[in-house]
């Protein structure tokens, strides 16, 4: 069993900011059902171009859920430049640490944030650096889409 900090447990059991902002300014999606990890992140800006609200939906383990919750808390009030600098290590630190094997679960949050910012700025989707989140099945995106449709 994983050794989760109390903060991880708290953010898993009482996740903050679950949901989807319908009139979002930024939207980032990473992962897939096949990996067992996926994250959809939306944010809304205020007049000062700071993040007024952020919400997430996560399909994943406890670390993924807690990381998403932590990230959305952390970025509120930040400018996009500041939010872009939040690393997965920052997320893990905010949570009082993650087990080594679970660090990748917090990468997803950072990647989704990056994508959401790119979406807002209208930039072409950035090639995300860092670890590959999951390669459990070794299947193509098309197969996954089909699987989702068939069972959805």
């Amino acid at each position: 069993m994983w050794d989760y900090t109390n903060k991880v447990k708290d953010h898993f059991l009482n996740p903050r900011n679950v949901g989807f902002i319908d009139d979002f300014d930024g939207l980032g999606e990473v992962g897939s059902l096949a990996c067992g990890d996926a994250l959809k992140l939306t944010f809304k800006l205020d007049e000062g171009e700071r993040i007024a609200d952020a919400k997430f939906q996560t399909f994943g383990c406890a670390s993924a859920i807690a990381s998403s919750s932590a990230l959305t808390e952390m970025v509120k009030g930040m400018t996009l430049d500041e939010a872009a600098k939040v690393t997965n290590e920052d997320i893990a630190d905010f949570l009082g640490g993650l087990p080594k094997e679970k660090m990748h679960c917090s990468v997803m949050g950072r990647d989704a944030m990056e994508k959401a910012i790119a979406y807002y700025r209208g930039e072409a989707e950035k090639q995300v650096e860092g670890e590959i989140v999951c390669e459990c099945f070794g299947v193509t995106d098309r197969q996954i889409e089909r699987a989702v449709k068939e069972n959805g």
Binding site: L13, P15, E29, G36, A38, F59, A62, C136, A147, N151
Partner: protein, 385 residues
């Protein structure tokens, strides 16, 4: 909080009767059965009695029973014995749904130059017997097929397979770690050459296993050294655990009936109610040929670890995939082999009951699960409300 333990395919409670039988052999009658003094020698007769008890559970002869340190060691011992006794044969057969104790060994042997046939299963987890039989050849050293699957509880027709394999003069081994104690087994009437079991799956302690080796089967020891177990398994006898294993074998015979009536009914109730109450849920595995204590249920669009941790908040202990593969979040190779869709494989929970479970416990689980799944689905980007 008293746990509600429905994770008995991972490990079981040592029966109080078993612990009681073991207790004198730690600090009081601690002699070595190989010793030349009464103090040690008298423990030897207890070890012999335990061997007879295990033989009785398996419908076997005492001299066909070898004590090992776990199911994994029994599996390794059997498979190495078969290939070392047939050094000229370079082909081995197993299935896609074996426990890592067999799976990883076969993969290793594959890298060492063995040709490995891995028999597939269908969507219900049933073996493709045609593929198995078609691949039997004069070059085949051993066929190893588990008796019952640890994740789904699916029972395989190993008696029938063993007969066909024996006709070809090939050694047949079965990993019966999940089957023994849950269904009647009579090795005297069987064509199975070697059978593995693990004590801690049937209320004996962890760290004791058994390998059945049919009289006359060619054998080579895996653990070499002292002359214990008739020269077939070296290492000072784990006397307390062997004696506990014997008592557990006796208890298993007595509770077989309860397991197949009351426990089975509890399992069926749990399963039926969960499928009724939780939309988008389904059984993994073959509902026809299945252990009486196991059900694997897929809850679509949610992830297993998260489910388990929420269950843990209520003190409910279960597994996603086998305990051996959770710890990494790779989806179970068993569910993948069966072609369980991704949406379902990740959210599969195994409930495995024992004679210690009560109806109140099952009702409690039935009550809590729908809320747990609903709560996680609310967070999931894939869930369409």
């Amino acid at each position: 909080m008293n746990p509600i333990y429905v994770d008995n395919n991972a490990t079981t409670r040592v029966a109080p009767e078993v612990l009681e039988a073991m207790l004198p052999y730690f600090s009081d009658l601690y002699g070595n059965p190989s010793s030349m003094h009464t103090f040690g020698g008298s423990v030897g007769s207890k070890v012999r009695a335990a061997r007879e008890q295990v033989a009785q559970l398996l419908g076997a002869l005492p001299e066909e029973i070898l004590f090992t340190s776990c199911g994994t060691e029994s599996d390794s011992t059997a498979i190495y014995a078969a290939i070392r006794s047939n050094p000229e044969k370079k082909h081995i057969i197993t299935t896609r749904v074996e426990h890592p104790a067999v799976k990883n060994l076969f993969e290793h042997l594959g890298k060492k130059g063995y040709r490995v046939t891995v028999v597939p299963v269908d969507r219900q987890g049933r073996l493709d017997l045609d593929t198995l039989y078609k691949n039997l050849s004069d070059d085949t050293a051993v066929v190893s097929v588990m008796w019952a699957n640890n994740e789904t509880g699916t029972i395989f027709p190993v008696e029938e397979i063993a007969r066909k394999v024996r006709e070809r003069g090939i050694v047949f081994h079965t990993d019966a770690v999940q089957a023994v104690g849950k269904m009647p087994i009579t090795m005297a009437d069987s064509a199975i050459d070697m059978l593995s079991l693990s004590g801690h799956k049937l209320h004996a302690p962890k760290g004791i296993g058994v390998l059945y080796v049919r009289k006359g089967t060619q054998f080579a020891p895996f653990l070499m050294g002292g002359h214990q177990e008739g020269g077939r398994r070296a290492g000072t006898e784990n006397t307390a655990s062997i004696i506990g294993m014997g008592r557990a074998a006796q208890l298993a015979m007595e509770s077989m009936q309860d397991e197949n009536t009351r426990v089975k009914a509890l399992r069926d109730k749990l399963e039926t109610e969960l499928l009724n109450r939780v939309p988008h849920s389904m059984i993994n595995g073959d509902p026809e040929n299945r252990l009486p204590n196991t059900t694997s249920i897929a809850f679509e669009y949610v992830e297993g670890e998260a489910i388990l941790l929420l269950m843990d908040q209520h003190g409910i202990c279960a597994s996603s995939g086998s305990a051996c593969t959770s710890g990494s979040l790779e989806p179970s190779h068993v569910l993948r082999a069966m072609g369980v869709p991704f949406t379902a494989a990740h959210g599969s929970i195994r409930y495995s009951l024992s004679i210690y479970n009560t109806e109140e416990e099952i009702d409690f689980i039935i009550d809590k699960m729908p809320t747990i799944i609903e709560r996680l689905r609310q967070m999931s980007p894939f869930w369409q409300r």
